[in-house]
C-alpha cells in the first residue's frame, strides 16, 4: 500500500484502475465525473496505456465492447445521462459475456437534471436499464478508500464471471478529497489473457465468435441459461455488505454509498441519545444481500431506508425483509443530500410512530 495521499475521488478511482492493470480507457466527458476521464488522458500515456475520447457515450460503450471482446482489460466512466445512452451497448456486452468495468458517478435526474450527487440510478444499475434478462455486478463504495479497494475487485469479478461490473458512485464521492492509500501496481503478466475465448486472431485454432445473437429462440434461451447459472453463482458467492452496531439494535437503518457513510454520523448521534439503532450497508447492490438482511432484522422493531432518491433500493430492502417488520423510507432527490440532523429527526419520528 502507498503512503496516504489526499486525492479527489474521480482521480483516485482512475489511479486505482490503472494499478489494477487497466491500460485502456474509452470515455466521454460529463460532470461530475470528468476528472476521471481527464486523469486517464494524462496518466495512461505515462504507463504505455491508451486513452481515447469517444465521440459519444454510445460510441464509448461499443468501443468497450470491441476492446473487451479481445480479452483486454478495459473500462469507461460516465454520469447518469451518459449511462442511459450506454444501455443498449451494456445489454450487448452482458449478452456477449464480456468482462469490463463501468463507473457511474450519479447526478440528479431525471433528464438533464443537475450535476449534484444522487442515488436515483439504482434501478438502472441493478435491475438492468437495458433490454433482456441480464445483470451487472454492482458495487457501491461509501468512501474514496473503499472505491479504490473495490475497483480491482470489480475487474476480477468481471473476469471471473465474464460479466460487466458497475461501480455505482455519486457526485460527492467523485468530487471530494480524502486521504487514501493505493495498492501496488498489478503485474500485467498476471492478468488473465482470455485466449480461450477472446478475439485475438485464430492462428492455429478454431475461430472464436463473440455474440449476443442467435436467431433460434431455443439456442438463445440456452445462452440465457448460461448467464442465469452465472448469476445464481454470483448471488451465492459475491454478496457484500457492512453492519454497524446491529447486535443490540432495535431499529435498523439501511443505506448504501455516500448515504451509508453519512448515516454513520446519524448512528453516533442516535446512540449518544440512547437510541438503539444499527446500520446495514449493502456494498454489492447486485447481488443484493437479501438473506443477510432478512437474518439481521429478526426480532427488530423496524427498518429505515435512506436514499438520495424517491425510493429505489427500498424495494430490494422490502424483498429482503419480506413483510416481517415495517420498512420505512426517507429520501431526498434531485441532488439534495440529506444531512445527519434531518435523518436523525426521521428516525425519531419513526420510532415515535412505534414502527
Amino acid at each position: 500500500m502507498s503512503e496516504k495521499l489526499m486525492v479527489k475521488g474521480n482521480e483516485a478511482m482512475a489511479e486505482a484502475a490503472i494499478r489494477a492493470g487497466c491500460r485502456l480507457y474509452f470515455g466521454y466527458p460529463i460532470t461530475p465525473q470528468s476528472e476521471l476521464t481527464e486523469y486517464m488522458a494524462r496518466r495512461l500515456p505515462e504507463v504505455k496505456g491508451t486513452f481515447l475520447q469517444s465521440e459519444s457515450e454510445v460510441a464509448a460503450v461499443n468501443m468497450i465492447y470491441g476492446a473487451a471482446s479481445t480479452g483486454t482489460r478495459v473500462m469507461t466512466s460516465t454520469s447518469s445521462p451518459g449511462f442511459s445512452l450506454m444501455q443498449e451497448g451494456i445489454s450487448y456486452i452482458a449478452g456477449a459475456q464480456l468482462p469490463c468495468v463501468f463507473i457511474n458517478v450519479v447526478r440528479g435526474g431525471p433528464g438533464l437534471g443537475d450535476i449534484q450527487p444522487a442515488q436515483s440510478d439504482y434501478f438502472q444499475g441493478t435491475k438492468g436499464g437495458g433490454h433482456g434478462d441480464y445483470r451487472l455486478i454492482t458495487l457501491a463504495p461509501s468512501s474514496i478508500q473503499e472505491a479504490v479497494d473495490l475497483i480491482p475487485l470489480a475487474f476480477e469479478l468481471a473476469d471471473k464471471y465474464r460479466n460487466p461490473s458497475l461501480i455505482l458512485a455519486d457526485g460527492m464521492l467523485g468530487q471530494m478529497m480524502e486521504p487514501v492509500s493505493f495498492s501496488e501496481f498489478k503485474d500485467l503478466s498476471e492478468l488473465p489473457d482470455h485466449s480461450d475465448w477472446a478475439m485475438q486472431g485464430n492462428e492455429g485454432r478454431e475461430p472464436h465468435k463473440i455474440t449476443s445473437f442467435d436467431i433460434d429462440p431455443n439456442k438463445l434461451e440456452e445462452m440465457n441459461m448460461v448467464y442465469n447459472e452465472k448469476y445464481k453463482e454470483i448471488m451465492e458467492k459475491e454478496v457484500r455488505y457492512e453492519t454497524t452496531q446491529v447486535e443490540d439494535a432495535e431499529y435498523i437503518m439501511v443505506a448504501y454509498g455516500t448515504m451509508g457513510r453519512i448515516l454513520s454520523n446519524v448512528l453516533k448521534m442516535a446512540r449518544s441519545e440512547g437510541i438503539k439503532v444499527g446500520l446495514f450497508r449493502p456494498i454489492s447492490l447486485w447481488p443484493f444481500p437479501y438473506k443477510a438482511l432478512n437474518d439481521l432484522i429478526k426480532g427488530k422493531k423496524g427498518v429505515l431506508t435512506v436514499e438520495m432518491s424517491t425510493g429505489q433500493m427500498v424495494e430490494d430492502v422490502k424483498l429482503g425483509v419480506n413483510g416481517e417488520i415495517p420498512v420505512n423510507f426517507y429520501g431526498r432527490t434531485g441532488g439534495v443530500v440529506p444531512t445527519p440532523n434531518e435523518v436523525l429527526e426521521q428516525l425519531k419520528q419513526m420510532i415515535g410512530r412505534g414502527e
Binding site: 460510441a59 465492447y65 479481445t70 451497448g89
Partner: protein, 251 residues
C-alpha cells in the same frame, strides 16, 4: 489469383451456406474479401465485425475471429479492437441503414480519427433484413415500405452520399465506390478492396470501399432485372470512382 487459371472457394470462408437471397450481391463481396484474406495470408490475425442487417450472420461466414456489433456501431467496436490489438487486421462490413443512418456518427468519427481499420460498405439503397424500408441512400421517387408513395426530397430528404461525406474528413487513407455488376466490375472491386486492406496493413489510416449492390427481394425484381436497374439508376446517383488514395500503386 493463383498461377493456374482455376477458381475455387477461398479458405477464409467457413463452410456455412450464405443466408442471402438468390442473386444478392452480399455473397459476391464476401467471396472477394475472403480471397484477399487468403492472398495476403492474414486469416490468422484478422478480426471481423459484422453489422445488424442481412449480413448479421457474416461473422459466421468467415473463418476468422468474428463478432456482430450493435446496429450501426461496427466502427466503434472495430476501434475498440484495433486500439486494444494494433497488430491485428480489423474490418467491418456494413449496410446502408447500418452505416449511413443509425451509424452516421460512428463512421464519420472513425474515418476522421484515421482508425486503422477497413470498412466494406454495401449500398443497396434499402433496408434488406427488416423487409425493405427506406434507407438514407434510397433514390428519390423509389418506393419502399416506409416511402410507399416514393421518396420525396420535400419530406425525406436526399440520398446520402457516403464517400462524398467521408472524403471531407482528415483520416481517410483509401476511399472508393465500386460495383460488382459484371465480371469486369468484380475484378475492379477486388482491386479496390485490396488497396483498402493494404492501407490498413501499411498503417496509413482508415479505408472504406462502398459497393453498390442489388437487393432483388426488396426491390421486387429478378436478380437480372435488379442488376439492370442498378446500372441504369444507382450508378447515376452514386458515381463510381476513387475519392481518396494515399496508398498509391504497387509495382
Amino acid at each position: 489469383m493463383s498461377a493456374i487459371k482455376t477458381f475455387k472457394r477461398p479458405n477464409a470462408l467457413s463452410s456455412k451456406e450464405f443466408t442471402y437471397c438468390p442473386g444478392c450481391h452480399h455473397g459476391i463481396v464476401h467471396r472477394l474479401i475472403a480471397e484477399i484474406i487468403d492472398e495476403f495470408e492474414i486469416q490468422g490475425k484478422t478480426l471481423m465485425v459484422a453489422p445488424v442487417g442481412c449480413s448479421v450472420f457474416a461473422y459466421t461466414f468467415f473463418d476468422v475471429d468474428g463478432t456482430v456489433a450493435a446496429h450501426g456501431r461496427a466502427p466503434a467496436v472495430a476501434t475498440g479492437m484495433k486500439r486494444a490489438r494494433p497488430n491485428n487486421i480489423v474490418f467491418t462490413y456494413q449496410g446502408d441503414g447500418d452505416l449511413a443512418a443509425i451509424g452516421t456518427a460512428e463512421i464519420i468519427h472513425a474515418a476522421n480519427r484515421g482508425e486503422k481499420i477497413t470498412t466494406i460498405f454495401i449500398n443497396n439503397a434499402i433496408y434488406g433484413m427488416t423487409g425493405g424500408q427506406m434507407a438514407p441512400t434510397t433514390l428519390l421517387g423509389m418506393k419502399t415500405t416506409t416511402s410507399p408513395y416514393g421518396r420525396k426530397a420535400e419530406n425525406e430528404g436526399y440520398p446520402i452520399h457516403v464517400c462524398e461525406l467521408l472524403k471531407e474528413t482528415g483520416g481517410v487513407a483509401y476511399l472508393e465506390r465500386v460495383t460488382v455488376n459484371s465480371p469486369n466490375e468484380v475484378r475492379k472491386a477486388k482491386k479496390a478492396l485490396k488497396k483498402a486492406f493494404t492501407a490498413q496493413i501499411k498503417g496509413l489510416g482508415f479505408s472504406l470501399v462502398e459497393v453498390l449492390s442489388t437487393c432483388p427481394t426488396n426491390w421486387g425484381m429478378s436478380p437480372k432485372e435488379a442488376m439492370k436497374w442498378l446500372d441504369e439508376n444507382m450508378k447515376k446517383e452514386f458515381p463510381v470512382g476513387v475519392f481518396v488514395d494515399k496508398v498509391g500503386d504497387e509495382k
